[in-house]
Structures are given as C-alpha cells and as structure tokens.
Symmetry: C3
Subunit: 434 residues, 3 copies
C-alpha cells in the first residue's frame, strides 16, 4: 500500500480553492465546482436535468443565479456584501432593490445571538423569500436609518447538475460513494465530502485491479439524490452491495458513524470494524439521528446499503451551518484521517473472502518456517493472532467475521492470510462453504 | 375517543355494591355477582355446570351454601360474626354446632400475628374442615371458657356458575378477556377485576366497529378456567390471537406486568408497550411469578396468548388476602388507571396495521401542507416523529413495531398515520409485505 | 446414586503412584503409565503408532529414551540429578557427556527468577537441543569452575503409544472423553486428567445401563490427538454428540470452563449448567484462551463438540509447568470435586429427555398424593419447583432447557420428573414434539 501514501496530500488545497464558490441546489457555482473536480478526475461526467422534471414526489426547481447582493447605509458604506462572504445571502433569495428603514429591514436579517461572531447559513429553496445573514455583533451595531438593499438574482427554468463516474471492476456488483455539492462557503459540511471523495476516486483509479465496480456521484443533497435514484433505482437495487454517504469528514476531533436504516448491511459492519480499530471512542449515532442523503438511499423500498462514516457529524458541532465551519476547522490531517478510514472500509470490502484451512488439525508451523517469518519483537502476539485466525478458517466465516471474532483489525489479518496462502495452509473460497 | 371519557366512572360504586357479597367457588354469592353484572351488560349469559362434571384433571366440586356462622361466649355475646364480615369464615367450612373450650377452639382460629388488625382470607376447598378467621388482636383478647360455635352451611351437589359474553367483530379472530368471581369481601384481589372488565365490555359494546371478536368471561379462578377450557379449547386455540387475565387492577400504587408462558405473544408486546409509555417504573414479573388463571390458559399445549396487566400484583402487597384489601385501598382513580391501560392495549390490537409509503424517497411535506397542519408549539418534535415513522413504513413492520423502533407511544403514531393516509402518503396493508 | 459414592476415593493414591514416572511424547514412561491405568480399567487397549507415520500435517516423531542425566562439579558432587526430579531435564534432550565451564554451561540452564524455588518444565520436541532445568536459587549458587554434564538419552525410530476404551451403550452415538499422558512429574497439569478420567471410566463401567457409547482415550497432547483424529475422523464426526477434554481438574481452588469452538454444542450447555450450579463464581474462558487438545478436536472441519471443564486452568495458576505443581497442590477433595462435575455433566447427557404433560391445565396434585410425598421442611419451595417444571413440559423443551428456564439444577429436576412419570402426569418423548 506504500504507493498510495501520497494520495490526497492536496486535499486541503482543493478545499481552499473550492471554498469561495457560491454553491446552491442549482446554478453556476455547482457547475464550477464540478469542473474543478473534473480536472482532478477527468473521467467524471457532468449531467444536467431540466427544471420541472418530476422525480418521485419532487420536482426539479428552477435554477438560481446570483450576481450580487449587498446592504449599504445611507452614506453609501457597504455594510453587508455577498462578495465578501456568500453566507451573507439567504440561498434562493428573490431579487430586490429597495430603500428600507432598519425596522423594515430587520425581519429579513438572520443572526445567532449565542454565537455573535458567526454568520449563519440559511436557505429558502421552496418558498419565495429574500434575506441576509450576518453576525449578531454586526446586527447590534446597525443604527436606525435608511438602508439600500440590493439582491441581483434570477430564479428561472434551467438545469440541476450532478457528476457521475463509473470505475469498472471485475464484477458488475457496485460500491456506491455519494457526496453533495450544494453548500456555499463551509468546509466540514460540506467541502470535506467532495474533496475526500475525489481523493478516494484517484486512489481507486490507480488500483491495479478492482474486484467491484465503483459508482461515484457528486450531487445536490436531497433533490439530487432523489433525482439520481429516480433514474437508476432498479439497477442500483440489483447491483449495489455497499455504499457510503460521504460528508463531514474533515475536522480533527472525533470519528462518528451513522447506520443504514437496516443497520445490518455490509456497509454497517465494515464501517463499525474500521472505526472501532481506528478510534476506540468513536461516536455511534442511530438511524433516528439521520439527516443527509441516507434518508433517500435507505428510504422504505429503496433500501440501498448506505452508511455514513464521519468525523464531527452535521448538527453536532458548534460551527455547523455557520461561517465558523471554515478552513481552520478542517485540516489536512483531519481530511487525511477521513480518507484513511474510508479507504480502509473500501479495502475491506475488496479483500473480504471466505478462507478455509487446507490441513485438518493445527498445522506444523515450525516445519514451514512460519515462526521465524513472523519473529519480530511482538512475535508471540503475532503467532497467537495467526493461530486464532486459523482456528476460525472453516470456510463458513468471512475474514471480516473472523476479525470481529478475534478482535483484531482486518488489515492485519490480510497480511497474515497472504502468508498462509503462500504456504498452502489456507485457500480462498469464492463463497461461503455449505 | 372523547365519547368514551365517562366510561367506567361508576366502577368504584359497583365495587362498593359487590363488596359485601359472600362469593366462593360456587353458590349463591357467585350468582348474585353475575346477576349484578348482567344488569350492567345485559348480553352476559350465565352458565351452570353440574357438580361432579369432569374437566381435564379436575372434577367440579359440590356447591357450598352458607347461611350463618358465629362464635358466642358463654354469656351469649356474639364475638365473631360472619354477617359482620364474610372473611370470618373459612371458605367451604363444614356445618357444626358445638360448645368448645378456648383450647379446643384455637386450632380452628386463624389470625396474622404480623398484621394484628387484619382478618386473613382462608379457604379449604378440597379437604373437609371448618374454621374461623379473626384479627390477631381479637384472638389475644379471648378469655378461657366455653364458646358456642355455629356454622350453618351445606356442601352438596349443585352447580358451578360462570358468565360469558361474545361481542362479534369483523373477524372471527378473538380477544379473550378473563376475570374471576370467587373471592369474598376483598377489593383489589378480586373485585377490581370483574369491575374493570365490565367497564371495558361497555366500552367495547359502544364502539362503532370492532375488528376482532371479544370473548369476555367471568368465572371462579382455576376450576372455572379449567372447566371453560375443557369446553372450548379447540376453538380458542384456533381463534384467540390475544388475551388478558384481568385481576388486581384497582389500587393507586404501581402498574405491573406478568407475561404469557411464551412471553412473545401479541399480548405481551402490546402490554409492555402500553405500560412503558404509561409508567416508566412499572414492575415486570416473570412467568415464574405467575399465580392466576394464566396457569391454565398458558399451560403446556393449551398455550393461549394470555398476559396480565395489573396494578399491585397478588401476593405482592401487604393487604393481599386480608380484610385490609378494602374499598379504601381500591379507588376510582386506581380503577380508572387500570381501565385506561387495558383499553389502550385493546386499542392497539384493533388498530395495529402494516403501513407502506406510497412514494419512493422522502415525500415533499411542504407541498402537501403537512408542516402547517402539525405546526403547534411542539411542531419540530412532531415533524421529527412523523419523519421517523415514515422512514420505517416499508410494509414489513407493524405500527406497533415502528412505535417500538422510534420509542413513541402507539396512540400518538396512529393520529399521525391517519393524517398521512388522508394525504395519500401512506397506505394500509392487510398483511406484511413479502 | 448411593452405590457410586466411593468411586474415585483412591484418585490421590493413583496420582502419587504415577507422579515419579518420566513421561514425554513417547517412550517407556508413557507405556508404564498406560499399563498402570490398564490395571485399574482392564478393558483399556494400548496402541502403538510407528515413528514417521504421517498424520494430517504432522509426522510421528522418533521415540525418546532417557536413562540418566546429571551435572557434577569438579569434586564429583552431584548437583543436578534427573533421578531426583525428572523436570531437571529438558524433554527430548540429545545425549551428551562433556566437561564445561559455568559460562559454557549457562546457556543450557533454565530457571525462573520470579519463582526461585521452582524447577521449570521445558521441552524441545521438534528442534535438536539439550538442557537442564533447576531452581533459580540453585543456579545462583553455582560457582565458577568445571562441570561434568551427562545426558544418557536416545532418539530413534520407535512408537507413539495411546490407550483407548470403548464402553458400548444402547445407542451408537458417542460421548468422547480425552485426556493426555505426556507430562513428567506434575500433578494438576497433567496427572489429574488421566486419574479423574479413570475414575469416570470405572463409574461408567458400573452403570446398569448406558444410553450412549463412551470412547475414552489417553494420548500424548497435540500429536496424540492429531494421530487419533487422522485414524477415526469420519466415524467420530458421525457419532460423537458430546465430549470433554479432561485436564487440570485436581486442585481445590476454582472451577473453570473453556468452550468448544462452536460454543453452542451440547457439551457447552451441559458444562455451563453443571458449573453454574456447583460454583457460582466459576471462571468462564473463551475459545481464544484455548491451549489443549480442543485445538485439534474443534479445528476447522474437524468440529467435534468438545468442551473443557477444569479446576485451575493451564497457564492460569502460578505453579503451572513447574515443580510446584505437585501432590500437595492436587488433593483428594480437589480430584473428587473434578470427578463430581464431570460425572454430573455426563449424567445430564444420559438423562436429558423431552417431557410432556399428560393432562391439559394444571393437574390436581392433592388427589394424587403429590403434596405429601414432597412434604419435607422445604415443601413449599419443592412444590413451586415442581409446578414451574410442569409448566414448561410441553414436549418442545428438553429437561436441560427447562432446568435453565427455571434456574434449578438438572439433578433435582430428574428426581421430580421421575415422581411425576410414576404418577402418570408426565411422559417422556423420544424427540422434540413438532
């Protein structure tokens, strides 16, 4: 795995580049983001779905374009400026150009009294509205008087965009990686998602062989996954054996897990295994804590096996949905940790096999030189692990199940398994022994 | 459910009326009790089974009639008088008329040294005996001397009586409600049982429609349920899907639960759900704590799904089987609480369905006006509950199972389900989706 | 069971006799041990397998013979003498006759600094070596100088021996009892094993009838069980329904349990039941703590149902594999306790049946005189236990399962079951009722 060690080392730089772009459900910010990612993974295909398209219970909304938005005081001082921070504008705001008193303006101003230095993130996708967001400190500083309020936006028929990349493997069975690209300048939720997904895709593309086919999608949250499912549901239900919704994966604090609705899919077992052996104190959420695209992927009778491996989960960290979710909160090491756990999870799915001993009873390890091979300073522990593993290789348990039974990381067992296979003590089975 | 709110408001009055009647396994007290209940629910049918009838391993005993029983001192003072309290006589006592010394009398006197103000309840159904019960304080006050002891009873072939009422529903499948009527003047064990059962029967009779058929029986404990099972077992095994043994359901202290032998019947799940959402500290007994007619209904190869929802359980409260189990221990609010939990349990069985979403992915609630409809002060919580419920409506889980998964009371989910069905977002399934 | 009460009363004497014999994987010590056991159970057959025989992944080693071994100082004082304690020699040591300086000798001397009064037990079966073991105190006392080191051994083609005894029962299905005979002078590990096994065999031989056939084997650990399995595996897989590896069963401290690999075999359930009702604080090890012949019997695709009931487990007590594991550590009462739990475990397997009530509903116990029969000082408890047992006799649960459900020892329930069968209230079923 040495050759992959530098994969993803530019993730924080990518985040920095993408950070200022004003993304929303639709519009040029989404396309700009997808084109940047296309530079990193050229096989990415970008799709457009016309406004008004029906998708299950939903309709693709009109496309929103924003050119400018600001509040000037009567002296012409620019107090709030979309060009300084795109969180200042309520997403999907209608166009206006008005002079208002402070009292008239206030119902359209959003701030957070408990976080007076944070600009909140507010959207109004499905009801007509306009509004600005600002820090509570700035709100308090506004003097009575007249304000010139300008929002230069359009909301009219256009398209919804998403990106898709299929990396073929030996099998048609698929692993689904899904991330979203509809939030403006926030780093953990959401840029960590597409950035880590992009690094994973580069890694997957460099693998000499892939057992499974990978379907990687970048789409706006909720409406995007609904549109995508409405186009591909039957095929996905047949082919997807595991999947991850990739979000909130870039800070340095905890690791956390949110299950699929079913809770007992391959994705769930793999995620729990990786996290347990990465961070003993990882946080385990339940389906009732859900809040991202697993709501669609795991909806009744959709039922794709999609779980979430995260660092600080949406809704659970103080900077969530504010301007404080920034390029300092998300770090290169945070992104790298997120990349590593997802890479390990995928690696387990790729390498999970049923193993069977070739000899009955315990093998003679000494004769086969297996003691010395393993004889490092921790050799006693390693021989014990090898014997424990072997004792479960009856062809009825997957290597992941064995790793759970003997409470050792899967990635250590694969190394031992490879040695034992080379020594003809183990054989791989295509599937579970009857 | 507003129209039912006054059901049962006379339960304590009924208890007061029935309290002085001297019930036993057989005899006029049982018939008098059944006739009083027949006034409240005229459809009740009263059955008579002749003494000597074989029922499984048992034989219906002779009928016991008591006219009088007392102990006078040599001066003719009436010290112990059955007419003052029918617990003074050991049930099924033989007739006698004797002058005895205190020493000769004492082996026939029963008291409770640890509860010196309580008259104990003693029976001798299956071996020939006579005896009196009195408070320990009174026993200690008896002076040496001659006592005139009179018991005017008969024990001769007659009948055993029980009451039965069938309330037909849309389906032939049945819910069994069983209670007993063989204890003299004691209120929690037993009058709360027949009284709450009578209020439940009135409520069931007033329902516009019933999905299930209800079989309500009032019978003497043990021999009564054995006789009843011996007549109807095959039909009951085919038709009964749930049932409750109704006893000890009238005091104001705790709620408690005793499972069926199987422990995993619909009755068990429903009872646990109701109790958990009624009284977080309800007491959970096991099958090994059994002691009433579930011993017959759940006997091996009888196996009816009968559980017990109680307040203070027989054998577990200090006043049990004494004169202290009286009209003060059992209150109108205690009876009402007992009625409510049983009514809720029945209501769940009536309303439990399999629900399936009509759309794939999450529905657009805004479009359908479902946010405003629910928009009370707790609307956030309610929308969350609605979405959690919807997320499990895959047609494979009953509403009761969903209520357990999201830890909300069934009766709140039915209200939400009704709204969603009206809005065509949910449909009811006759049975579990394959 | 009174007639068996003296079985095993000579176990400590047997241990004392066998203690000084120098056993190893092969050789005259093993044969001498088997012949002594053959005196106690004459039906024992002794088998010889030639060196070089292939058995699964192993080859039977050459036979090791030791005649003498000692270290003399230059003055001719005998400092270390195999004839004083056979632990002084590393098992399978090559022959030598050398004069060495203390420095040259030291790499071949083994002691335990933490247990300075103990001679350790060391083997070198599969690599050529010679060495002596001695107390650390003695090691420290050795002065610089010349030492005469003599080991008079042979290692050449011969045989590996084991003993086998088949006690036929009504059924061909078998219970396997396996113990090992390859350790020199140590008492808990290992002599308690063959000694308790021999007492169990005497007890089994005296039984009027046996439901199952018993296969009792005495063999060198690891290579012996591998050789044995390689000869009989297919038959054993068909016939063995339960089995125990009998080792470390003679001290007076704790009881302990090590499961089969499967963990849910009859042997496991029976062992856990006996231990729970014998010693509430028994130690429960896992498969990962294994270390004896269960490694072969439960190997992948061997999968015999073999568990271990022990007292102080190998590797878990301070005297393990040292000269301190002696005739004081192992006591007659320790061996008797070990014998008793294994006898009870076997007794449960012999007597476990499916029971079904002959009457529906509870039986009339009074009529049948079952109350008096049981009316001892604890009669209330006994009647309760009888009724609890009866309440589960539906023909679908084995008596062992019922004993677990009502948390009573199996051996008490069989007595009650016999009474109830005599009274025609229970019947035995050949197998589980559909």
């Amino acid at each position: 795995m040495v050759k992959f060690k530098n994969i993803g080392y530019k993730m924080h730089d990518w985040t920095k580049y993408l950070f200022p772009i004003c993304r929303s459900l639709t519009g040029s910010g989404v396309r700009e983001t997808l084109h940047y990612i296309q530079n990193l993974i050229p096989e990415l295909k970008i799709f457009s779905v016309p406004s008004g398209t029906q998708a299950f219970d939903w309709v693709v909304p009109d496309e929103w374009t924003i050119r400018d938005a600001y509040i000037d005081d009567s002296a012409g001082n620019r107090l709030v400026d979309f060009k300084q921070n795109n969180l200042h504008i309520v997403s999907y705001s209608n166009p206006i150009d008005l002079w208002l008193t402070l009292e008239e303006l206030k119902p359209h101003l959003h701030s957070l009294p408990d976080q007076p230095n944070a600009i909140p993130y507010v959207t109004s996708y499905y009801s007509k509205y306009w509004g600005f967001c600002l820090t509570h400190n700035q709100l308090k500083s506004l003097a009575p008087g007249q304000y010139h309020v300008v929002i230069d936006t359009d909301l009219k028929p256009g398209v919804l965009n998403y990106g898709e990349l299929i990396l073929p493997g030996e099998l048609d069975q698929e692993i689904l990686l899904s991330t979203y690209i509809c939030h403006p300048s926030m780093a953990n939720n959401e840029l960590s998602g597409p950035v880590v997904t992009t690094a994973l895709t580069q890694w997957l593309g460099m693998l000499e062989k892939r057992k499974y086919t990978y379907r990687i999608v970048y789409l706006p949250e909720t409406i995007g996954s609904i549109v995508y499912l409405s186009k591909h549901l039957e095929y996905l239900k047949q082919q997807v054996i595991a999947g991850f919704n990739i979000t909130c994966i870039g800070d340095d604090r905890c690791y956390s897990f949110l299950p699929s609705r079913n809770g007992k899919t391959l994705s769930d077992y793999v995620a729990l295994h990786v996290l347990k052996h990465t961070d003993h104190d990882f946080i385990r959420y339940t389906w009732l804590d859900r809040g991202s695209d697993e709501r669609q992927y795991c909806a009744p009778n959709v039922d794709l096996p999609v779980a979430s491996i995260m660092r600080s989960k949406y809704g659970e960290y103080p900077e969530y949905h504010t301007s404080l979710d920034d390029l300092e909160l998300v770090t290169q090491s945070g992104l790298q940790g997120g990349f590593d756990v997802l890479r390990k999870a995928i690696d387990i799915i790729e390498k999970n096999v049923y193993l069977q001993t070739t000899v009955l009873g315990e093998p003679q390890l000494g004769n086969r030189g297996l003691y010395p091979t393993l004889s490092t300073k921790e050799s006693g522990k390693e021989v014990r692990t090898m014997m424990n593993m072997l004792s479960y290789c009856d062809g009825n348990k997957s290597l992941l199940e064995i790793a759970e039974l003997i409470d050792e990381p899967f990635w250590e067992l694969t190394l031992i398994a490879d040695q034992l296979i080379e020594n003809d003590l183990l054989q791989k089975l295509e599937k579970k022994r009857e």
